[in-house]
């Protein structure tokens, strides 16, 4: 029997060079000193968070700290110096120093045939503890993708930028919202940053009222500005008009942030229709504003018989109620909402009041089409796939493993190929929910909103900086099972790990060590997901369920 020390949350500090002197110095900083350390529980003290969930990063002029489009798992507090955020236009890819992700060569891939362990879930003993350093892109994009601008003055001349001074906090939107960075930030002077990984940021927000308020305000302000300007409705507004819209817009939240918990309970009870979801706007309501989805998903439905018929679902950037508001503006004073909007899990809504729309938006747009008109051309059967997709919450999927059961000969070549690419261990199960002749297998879907990441205490499960795939760093996974319990689709498996001789690795109390495992889309393997390439009957594909793809790519 092999015995190792059970992994703990802070076995792998975010910054291995952080010292007690650094922590003491940080505690004197006004932003940290204002925190009430007594509000933190004994098992997660403020000093412990600073010691283990943060690190100090030195920057020089031109250093790029975050890049637009990257996925990041940390936020930054400027403790010395000043930085610039690029507002417009976007910096070219070459200037941002983007390079293709590391992939195995052909011979390295081939060597897996004889280098893979013969024992299931084998790890070197030291690997169980996580003594190796984090891989590229595993923790944050700052340390790992540090590139610098060759010509800072030229960038300042050619691009619209804004200054971020000492005390400014940035990057929290991407870190907490599991969304890509929305802007590039680079150092203008020599400086130091306190980089806070999202687990620490989450604790700050949870236990300190001041940080909670600050993060929320930043979060809402940045989200609003970005989302409004990305919408075609507001894209053409001049800055003054846009500011009027920003000032008038309201923020609302429906459902629970950890929606998977309530969803699992609802599903056990069979209560999965629109009538069981939090109502955002109901049929017959008087529309008082445009509802824009900032994050999450919402269902648009209309009453039919004894239930609700789903017309469509809305994701980030989509909006609801415009046809009724437009009709009211045109003088149809009796117009009320003819469809219902409900929250599919957790939804952030921006409500743009009707008077603002009437003044700044409606004069510049064509009459919007009615969603209800869609129903006239569609049979109930046509929408069955959508209903099922929402019932199973698959609208979250960007890479669902979709198997055509009318083609699949159940040969398991996909499973074997997956195992060959993962040290002999398949990372999915060829079983799952079925609709007609389609099966969504139990493989990670690399969700738009990966709730599996919410509770991870070490950040082992994270998005890759490039591509945004959800992957698990085996070195820093402590086997707590939070991600597996959080995944609404049961696509993360906890496995007992073994040494190369086949002995189960156990801690000092003789309890087996577990690790979370799941599909990583064959990250690093040449040629993309092995499962897709291995299917001899073209029965397997990775499917983005979002939006129109559902109808155009998934055969009916």
């Amino acid at each position: 029997m092999a015995t190792v020390t059970r992994p703990q949350r802070w076995d792998e500090p975010f910054g291995p060079d952080m010292t007690d002197e650094d922590v003491d110095w940080l505690l004197q900083r006004p932003e940290i000193a204002a925190i009430d350390s007594d509000a933190f529980p004994a098992h997660t003290p403020l000093a412990g968070i600073l010691r283990n969930d943060t690190r100090l990063v030195r920057v020089s002029p031109g250093d790029i700290v975050v890049r637009e489009g990257d996925y990041g798992n940390s936020a930054f507090l400027i403790v010395e110096g000043s930085l610039r955020v690029v507002l417009a236009p976007d910096l070219p890819e070459a200037v941002l120093g983007r390079q293709p992700a590391h992939r195995r060569g052909v011979f390295s891939a081939l060597s897996q045939l004889w280098r893979n362990h013969r024992v299931a879930e084998a790890r070197a003993s030291r690997g169980a503890r996580g003594t190796t350093t984090a891989r590229r892109g595993d923790t944050s994009d700052a340390a790992d993708t540090r590139v610098f601008l060759q010509d800072v003055p030229a960038v300042l001349d050619d691009y619209q930028t804004a200054t971020l001074d000492e005390g400014a906090l940035f990057g929290e939107l991407a870190a907490l919202g599991r969304v890509p960075r929305t802007a590039t930030v680079f150092a203008e002077t020599e400086g130091r940053l306190l980089e806070i990984r999202w687990q620490g940021l989450r604790e700050f927000r949870r236990y300190d009222e001041g940080w909670r308020r600050r993060i929320d305000e930043n979060y809402r302000r940045n989200a609003l500005a970005v989302h409004l300007t990305e919408s075609p409705l507001f894209a053409g507004l001049d800055p003054d008009s846009l500011q009027q819209v920003i000032d008038a817009t309201l923020f609302e939240t429906y459902g629970q942030f950890d929606w998977h918990v309530s969803y699992q309970k609802l599903r056990e009870r069979g209560a999965v229709g629109a009538e069981h979801e939090p109502v955002i706007a109901n049929v017959g309501d008087y529309p008082d504003g445009l509802l824009m989805v900032r994050a999450g998903f919402a269902r648009v439905s209309a009453p039919i018989g004894n239930g609700h018929r789903t017309i469509t679902y809305l994701g980030a950037g989509d909006y609801f109620g415009i046809e009724s508001l437009y009709a009211l503006w045109k003088g149809d004073s009796d117009r009320v909402l003819s469809t219902m909007l409900t929250a599919l899990g957790y939804v952030d809504i921006l409500r743009v009041p009707a008077p603002v729309l009437e003044r700044y938006v409606f004069p510049n747009i064509d009459p919007p089409a009615s969603r209800l008109a869609l129903l006239d051309t569609r049979a109930l059967e046509d929408d069955a796939l959508t209903e099922w997709t929402l019932e199973q919450r698959f609208m979250n999927a960007t890479q669902a493993m979709l198997i055509d059961l009318d083609k699949c000969v159940r040969c398991d070549d996909c499973v074997r190929a997956c195992a060959a690419a993962h040290d002999g261990n398949p990372r999915f199960v060829r079983q799952g929910k079925t609709f007609d002749h389609w099966m969504v297998a139990n493989a990670c879907m690399h969700c738009i909103d990966p709730v599996c990441m919410i509770g991870c205490p070490t950040g082992a499960i994270h998005r890759t900086a490039q591509g945004g795939m959800v992957v698990i760093n085996d070195d820093t996974c402590i086997g707590c099972g939070t991600c597996a319990n959080s995944c609404p689709y049961g696509n993360i498996r906890m496995v007992e790990i073994r040494d190369p001789a086949g002995n189960t690795l156990r801690d000092d109390d003789h309890r087996p060590i577990h690790k979370a495992t799941k599909c990583d889309l064959c990250a690093g393997q040449p040629g993309g997901p092995s499962c897709v390439r291995a299917c001899p009957h073209d029965a397997l594909r990775r499917q983005d369920f979002h939006g129109e793809n559902l109808f155009t790519e998934a055969p009916r």
Binding site: C408, V409, R410, C411, Q431, Q525
Partner: protein, 273 residues
């Protein structure tokens, strides 16, 4: 990123095979007219084709290397296999050759071709039949699934006896249904798509129903549900087993054929040239 071929792309391979077959047939005909010997060329082409067809096994084993989609390789394998039959006939000039060694090769060749066609047909026909059962089950889990059904059925029978005080259903279970729940049944019927299993369970449920009290009938209904589930599992067992095991004949025979063909190739090149 790999993409699926268009319909035109899918037709390209068969079209190419037809072109090769016609060209080779034309050459063989013309060579025969000119008193030449087309057998060497057709033999080389056939030998090359056979080696090429074996590469599909290699592609499957090398799934970690980006060698293109296995689906493309299978299409090449199928089209190449049909082309191989035509080239074989062009090469031998007859359906059945003379000479013991050649007959051995021909026998293996026909077996490999027939088993390949059989595999192709069942892999086209069975998947949708399995889909239509309304349940998916992994082949390796079938024994466990049957055991679960058997346990559930026995629980129903025991409960029926305890609650109603009658052993009619229990006796009938031991006489008939216990056999059915022991292992997969009606393999041949399920293999050809008949419904003998469903018919058998209906027949026996009807036979015993007339002797049951109204208190026992709900237990027979529960048992009927379990029997229906077992019928589905039997269908999966038969179809999945055939889809997996036809290769047990096709692949070893292919290997044996390759070995014989290599010897034939060496012998001809050593003594006939």
């Amino acid at each position: 990123m790999t993409t699926r071929p268009s319909r035109v792309g899918q037709l390209a391979l068969p079209a190419l095979a037809v072109v090769v077959a016609v060209a080779l047939g034309g050459y063989a005909y013309r060579a025969a007219q000119d008193l030449g010997d087309p057998h060497f060329l057709t033999g080389y082409v056939l030998f090359g084709l056979m080696l090429g067809l074996v590469l599909l096994r290699g592609r499957k084993a090398l799934s970690v290397v980006p060698l293109g989609r296995a689906a493309f390789w299978l299409r090449v394998h199928v089209v190449g296999g049909f082309l191989g039959v035509i080239v074989f006939w062009l090469h031998t000039g007859a359906l059945w050759p003379i000479g013991l060694y050649e007959q051995l090769i021909a026998g293996l060749f026909y077996f490999v071709s027939a088993s390949g066609i059989f595999g192709y047909v069942v892999q086209r026909a069975y998947p949708s039949r399995l889909t239509q059962t309304g349940r998916e089950i992994i082949y390796e889990r079938i024994p466990a699934a049957i055991a679960e059904l058997r346990d559930a059925a026995e629980d129903v029978i025991l409960e029926c006896g305890e609650k109603t005080g009658s052993d009619t259903l229990a006796k009938y279970y031991v006489e008939t249904f216990e056999w059915f729940f022991r292992q997969p049944r009606f393999f041949a019927s399920n293999a050809v798509g008949a419904a003998r299993g469903a018919h058998w369970t209906r027949h026996h449920c009807g036979t015993v129903a007339r002797y049951l009290s109204s208190a026992e009938e709900p237990y027979l209904d529960k048992l009927a549900d379990l029997l229906a589930a077992k019928v589905v599992i039997d269908t999966h067992y038969a179809a999945q087993r055939i889809m997996k095991t036809w290769l047990w004949g096709h692949v070893p025979a292919s290997m044996a054929l390759i070995v014989l063909a290599i010897w034939h190739f060496l012998a001809v090149n050593a003594y006939a040239l």
